[in-house]
């Protein structure tokens, strides 16, 4: 024993650094790639697969030829080396995007229409944007139609006037009488305006007119986008009505909606496109000459509205009964309770489903190539692959089409996930 005063440490020792195998990159690798023998095996296998894919793909992409008049010329330049012949994309770019009949000096019109589409869809997608922009969205269908199909602007203007007048009448009547009377009055007004304005169209044929392009000249990826946007936007209101009808307690209306929805969902889209192609004309009054694209739009809209109706019905069913009862106890009538209480919540729940259906529908627009319409896939399978210059080229074209669809569909589904997070009002983290 010494009389030395024992040393007393005043602060805690610094913890010694964790062993090298338990920190940083090494730890991450151990936990995520080599945690067990089986995992190590899987990791090595995956790396091998990725290596094989990349080693095949990389030279093909890197040696790619972007400028050649035909497949023969392309192979001549490559001299047997592995490489893609992407020249087909640059040479046939306009055909892939606009189809092969759209007048080439008018390509600026669909391009502008597409850019405007992005602008006018934005306020619908992002609620932070100023609400005034929604006016642009409302105007877009008429302006876009005029840009793509051409003709005089009087036609779209008259139909716009019909809608505006109908809306005005509806608001006025709805305030004084009831929702149903308002709808009826709006319908009458719209029909009145359209039938009065119809003759004006032929009178002012050259008033601010663009070169008219018939529907059968639409093609390429433009056709996919037209079909996708038109059918999704038309099928939303129809789908809501069908869903409400299916949930209603009036047996006849419910029956009609159930039969329609189950019938449409039970048959493949192809058969409906066959109907549009060969059968629908029999059911129309003699002399009416709907063009194919319009008939296809009708059938695809019916198709997707049935699917959207089922999604919205799911949303309606998921609302607690208390919401319906609360609306009733406030003394709201059916139209009011649906508009103010039920549908806003039900639609919010169904957004992911609606987006899924829309993505599926957009992908399904490629099916029109089966009834010999020349959308993106139809252009590839038809005029491009069967041309003498590019006969026998597949991967570059299908790869291009896949990437195009992937970009659009993937970004839409990412958007829907983002929106879901934005709309989550409950307190789940």
């Amino acid at each position: 024993m010494s009389d030395q005063i024992a040393f007393v440490r005043h602060e805690a020792l610094q913890p010694s650094p964790p062993p090298a195998s338990e920190t940083g990159l090494v730890k991450w690798l151990r936990e995520n790639l080599f945690s067990s023998v089986f995992n190590t095996f899987l990791t090595i296998l995956s790396i091998y697969v990725i290596f094989r894919v990349l080693s095949g793909l990389f030279p093909w992409l890197a040696n790619g030829i972007w400028d050649a008049p035909s497949l023969k010329a392309c192979q001549g330049i490559l001299e047997g080396a592995s490489g893609g012949c992407f020249a087909v994309l640059t040479e046939r770019w306009n055909q892939l995007v606009f189809g092969f009949k759209y007048p080439s000096e008018q390509y600026w019109r669909p391009t502008i229409a597409f850019l405007l589409l992005l602008v006018s869809v934005a306020p619908v997608l992002f609620s932070k944007l100023p609400r005034k922009l929604l006016i642009l969205t409302g105007l877009y269908p008429f302006f876009g139609f005029w840009l793509i199909w051409g003709g005089t602007i009087v036609g779209p203007l008259i139909s716009l006037c019909g809608f505006v007048a109908a809306y005005y009448v509806f608001v006025q009547v709805d305030k004084r009488f009831s929702f149903a009377v308002g709808l009826l009055a709006a319908l009458v007004t719209a029909i009145l305006v359209w039938s009065l304005g119809g003759p004006l169209k032929s009178t002012f044929e050259d008033f601010i007119a663009l070169e008219a392009v018939p529907s059968r000249d639409m093609g390429g990826f433009m056709l996919n986008i037209i079909l996708g946007t038109v059918c999704v936007s038309l099928s939303l209101p129809i789908g809501i009505l069908l869903a409400l009808g299916r949930q209603s307690n009036m047996p006849i209306i419910k029956g009609i909606c159930v039969v329609f929805i189950e019938f449409i969902r039970g048959v493949p889209l192809i058969t409906l496109l066959f109907v549009a192609n060969v059968v629908l004309a029999y059911f129309l009054p003699p002399g009416t000459n709907f063009d194919l694209i319009l008939r296809v739009i009708i059938m695809i809209t019916l198709f997707s509205s049935a699917y959207i109706a089922e999604v919205i019905r799911g949303g309606l069913a998921a609302l607690p009964r208390g919401q319906y009862e609360a609306a009733d106890s406030l003394g709201l009538d059916y139209a009011q309770s649906m508009r103010l209480i039920i549908l806003p919540q039900a639609l919010k729940i169904s957004i992911p489903g609606i987006v899924n259906v829309s993505v599926g529908l957009f992908k399904d627009t490629t099916l029109v190539s089966v009834i010999s319409m020349f959308d993106l896939v139809g252009m590839i399978r038809g005029p491009i692959v069967s041309s003498t210059e590019w006969n026998g080229i597949y991967w570059e074209l299908f790869g291009f089409a896949s990437i195009l669809f992937f970009i659009i569909c993937y970004s839409i589904s990412q958007y829907s996930q983002w929106l879901e997070r934005q709309l989550a009002t409950d307190n789940k983290d």
């Binding site: 790639l33 009036m250 209306i253 969902r265 039970g266 493949p268 058969t271 399904d364 099916l367 089966v370």
Partner: protein
């Protein structure tokens, strides 16, 4: 303040049909009925008028006439002299073949990818996520065409498998049994010899016995708490009797089941099973596309079972693999199976895209060549729709029964 009283049934006024909520629904339904009948009547009168002007009539007699075209893949006897009806039946069977094989492989791809996507191996999870996203976001028609193009362009023709002039052949068979050619895939075919039926019968019987045993083990577990082993015994019940019989018969004479290998005869393979390029392209594309959707369902189903369930089971002292089979899986399956079946249904409906690769399913025979040859568009398409509708409705009926049986019994 005025009191509102429901007017008695006696003093019913006509205006109550619109203003009284009790009667208004009758008005609406009547209007809907009238509109429906009017529009259907309008369409049908148009149809009748159009048919009369074109000199046509609705008749299914064409089904009795000889079809006059050939179908390259047929599961039943058919030649070009057979009737259109027979051709349609061949098409139906081809559709069902694609649907069944496609669903089988889609389930394998989907379950594998769904489980592996939740794996704690980072690179595997990412690869599976990439698979799911890539296949879900590209149209199935493009996948079918891409895989068909592999057969058209990339795979060697059968004659490339032949050694010529001392040179080794350009292509070789896989394991000497499988040949991947541009015309399709050739693979060995099991052929039953004498006694083969017996082996097969025993095997089928052991499947039943195995399920009976598992049922018995489970009932014992629930009623008495006795825990019989199931994995090894069921494996034994499944394979041992059939293998024993196989070798007993083999010892007495020739083998009861032999494999017939495809062999190169001339410029083509003979023998074995020939899966046509169009069939393989269609089935594989549908399976791998639908598999991506099933993977998402499986993942969602597993994630839907809260961790508390696993922990509660563990705290009761249940072993990990038992937790999976007794607690997690039964609940996860309740979430997984309904969307899985609707994915099967989608696969079946998407199989109508066969027409894009020239596979002769019902859309290719009845909706394709028969329609074009006879010009009976309305009849053929109605029949086509009726077939798909029948399949869809029967599958959803089965699904409803299943949903009822697994629904959580609430008090």
């Amino acid at each position: 303040m005025t009191m509102q009283t429901d007017s008695a049934a006696g003093n019913f006024r006509l205006s109550m049909l619109i203003s009284d909520t009790r009667y208004r629904s009758y008005t609406f339904q009547l209007v809907a009925m009238i509109l429906l009948f009017a529009s259907v009547g309008y369409l049908i009168s148009n149809l009748i008028f159009n048919l009369q002007t074109a000199g046509l009539s609705i008749s299914y007699e064409f089904l009795e006439e000889p079809a006059g075209y050939d179908i390259n893949q047929r599961l039943i006897e058919y030649n070009s002299q057979s009737t259109h009806w027979r051709a349609s039946v061949v098409g139906v069977l081809n559709t069902l073949l694609v649907a069944v094989v496609g669903c089988f492989f889609a389930t394998i791809f989907g379950v594998l990818a769904g489980v592996l996507r939740l794996s704690n191996n980072w690179i595997v999870a990412k690869i599976m996520a990439a698979y799911v996203e890539i296949f879900r976001n590209v149209p199935v028609l493009i996948w079918i065409l891409i895989i068909n193009a592999i057969f058209l362009v990339s795979l060697p023709q059968p004659k490339a498998f032949k050694a010529r002039g001392g040179n080794p052949p350009e292509a070789e068979m896989f394991l000497d049994a499988f040949a991947f050619t541009g015309r399709g895939i050739y693979m060995p075919k099991p052929v039953l010899q004498t006694g083969g039926m017996l082996v097969l019968g025993i095997f089928l019987l052991s499947i039943f016995v195995m399920f009976a045993y598992r049922r018995y083990a489970r009932s014992l577990l629930y009623s008495q708490g006795r825990d019989l082993p199931t994995f090894w015994p069921s494996l034994g019940i499944l394979f041992v009797p059939a293998i024993v019989i196989y070798f007993v018969i083999a010892a007495t004479g020739e083998l009861p089941i032999v494999l017939e290998y495809p062999a190169l005869k001339g410029f083509n393979f003979k023998g074995g099973i020939w899966a046509r390029g169009s069939f393989v392209a269609l089935t594989f594309a549908l399976a791998i596309y639908t598999g991506a959707f099933i993977a998402e369902n499986v993942r969602a189903g597993i994630l839907a079972i809260s961790k508390g369930q696993t922990e509660a089971a563990a705290s009761l002292g249940i072993r990990p693999n038992r937790i999976m089979s007794l607690v997690v899986l039964p609940q996860a399956l309740r979430v997984i199976i309904p969307p899985m079946i609707s994915n099967y249904l989608n696969l079946t409906k998407n199989s109508s895209l066969a027409i894009a690769v020239g596979y002769m399913d019902i859309t290719g025979t009845l909706g394709g060549i028969t329609l074009n040859q006879t010009g009976r568009a309305i009849e053929a398409i109605l029949l086509l729709m009726a077939f798909y509708l029948f399949i869809s409705l029967s599958i959803s009926a089965i699904m409803n029964v299943y949903n009822k049986s697994v629904a959580i019994k609430e008090r």
